[in-house]
């Protein structure tokens, strides 16, 4: 366990919104390590800084103090172009609101990141179709997001996140806008991708079904990493601590 590869490391990350009197410290010195190939959940009440940490790890935002290393590269030192490259090749994103590109079809949504990576169009289309088949949407290639259900949209988003075979998939409340059954399917899909492809999954979540499949759980409280649970402990605690409330936005 101790010699595992670290894929993301944060050191004393501080993020502050606003200035002076009105300043809010969303993150107040978070130091953590995330291992390659693990399934990690980030838990915490709304406003705890969970989403902010998620944005920091994903290179979507820069910290005020401290540093974030992805594959041992300090994100703060990257130029916008290098950051775009990192987002394109190393990280796949899944959002609560799916965030598919509304004007493009499912297949085009999946191929777009590959085209950004310089993959030839024929190859991208072939791989995109294969990925959509993997997530169970082989028959919906040319539908636009408005013609797909929530669960299907989230599957497209997962296929899109996998497009450039990233090392990390970041999922921000991926089941938050889905009903119980669909949410469970998405969780199973993420878990199987994690075991089969060895992709690291980091998800911010409220959903206790999500916690059940996690290898580790980070509890964030008031902008700090309050507790780290490994899977065994979580299994014993989850039903009591979180009750039947399955998915809160």
């Amino acid at each position: 366990m101790s010699e595992r590869d670290v894929v993301v490391r944060t050191a004393n990350v501080v993020k502050q919104y606003g200035e002076g009197e009105a300043a809010v410290r969303a993150l107040n010195g978070v130091t953590c390590e995330i291992y390659a190939g693990e399934y990690l959940s980030i838990m915490g009440p709304s406003g705890s800084g969970k989403s902010t940490l998620f944005n920091m790890i994903g290179g979507l935002d820069k910290p005020n103090e401290g540093s974030v290393f992805v594959n041992s590269v300090d994100i703060a030192q990257l130029t916008p172009r290098e950051l775009a490259f990192l987002r394109c090749h190393t990280i796949g994103y899944i959002f609560q609101t799916f965030n598919l590109i509304q004007v493009r079809t499912a297949l085009e949504n999946v191929t777009l990141p590959m085209l950004f990576a310089g993959v030839q169009p024929e190859e991208a289309e072939e791989k995109g179709a294969a990925l959509l088949a993997t997530v169970g949407l082989g028959h919906r290639l040319h539908h636009r997001p408005t013609e797909l259900s929530g669960g299907q949209q989230q599957r497209v988003a997962i296929a899109r996140a996998l497009a450039n075979t990233p090392a990390i998939i970041l999922a921000d409340e991926p089941t938050g806008n889905l009903d119980l059954k669909t949410g469970q399917e998405i969780i199973d899909l993420l878990r199987s991708l994690n075991t089969e492809r060895g992709v690291t999954i980091i998800s911010a979540t409220h959903d206790h079904k999500m916690l059940d499949v996690s290898d580790r759980i980070f509890h964030i409280r008031d902008g700090q990493l309050a507790d780290v649970e490994t899977r065994g402990e979580a299994d014993a605690e989850a039903p009591l601590a979180h009750g039947p409330s399955a998915s809160m936005p």
């Binding site: 594959n71 590269v73 987002r87 394109c88 090749h89 994103y93 590109i101 085009e108 950004f116 310089g118």
Partner: protein, 191 residues
């Protein structure tokens, strides 16, 4: 530990072109309204230009009046076009954030909006300039004044040029701003 190798690969031009085309096609009615906004401004501009071209006598007072009208029409154009383009870019901050997450460079985003604005601007101002100058020329003809067709062509050309320039300028400013924003901030924007 795996070290990331950074290379700069820009997607080929047609990727941006397709994205712009898809956006125009799928959001056709929204874009049509934007385009009509551009057309209205340019129609006013072109009609005043036609009026000016028809002027045969060169007395100072009426020339000054027309200049003032041209100035007003340009300002109206500027406000109309800028407003339409600002709206159509700002309502898409989320999309910009998403494309950034997929690994688009800032340049790609600006390129897409620039292409879209060029196409919108060209279509809108061509229709506007045509309609504006033809209507005004028709009106003038009824009162016995003539505008030469070569002048009409000039006015249409000028109108398209002015319209496209204004449209692209008005689109590019918010697009650059949106492209430079951290992706998280662009995703958070609610319009």
């Amino acid at each position: 530990m795996k070290q990331t190798q950074f290379k700069n690969v820009d997607p080929p031009f047609w990727v941006a072109w397709n994205q712009a085309l898809a956006s125009l096609r799928v959001r056709f009615f929204r874009q049509l309204i934007t385009s009509i906004g551009v057309a209205l401004g340019i129609a006013f501009f072109a009609s005043v230009q036609t009026l000016r071209a028809a002027q045969t006598t060169h007395d100072m007072q009426s020339e000054a009046k027309l200049r003032w009208l041209v100035g007003t029409s340009l300002v109206m154009c500027l406000v109309g076009v800028t407003n339409s383009m600002l709206m159509s870019v700002t309502e898409r901050y989320r999309e910009i954030g998403t494309i950034k997450c997929l690994g688009a460079s800032d340049g790609f985003i600006v390129k897409v909006f620039c292409l879209e604005a060029m196409m919108l601007g060209a279509a809108g101002s061509f229709v506007g300039a045509g309609v504006g100058s033809v209507l005004m020329a028709g009106g003038l003809l009824a009162s016995g004044e003539h505008v030469r067709s070569i002048q009409m062509l000039e006015i249409t050309f000028l109108g398209v040029l002015v319209g496209m320039t204004l449209t692209v300028l008005a689109a590019i400013a918010p697009a650059i701003q949106a492209a430079r924003m951290p992706a998280a901030a662009a995703l958070r924007v609610e319009v």
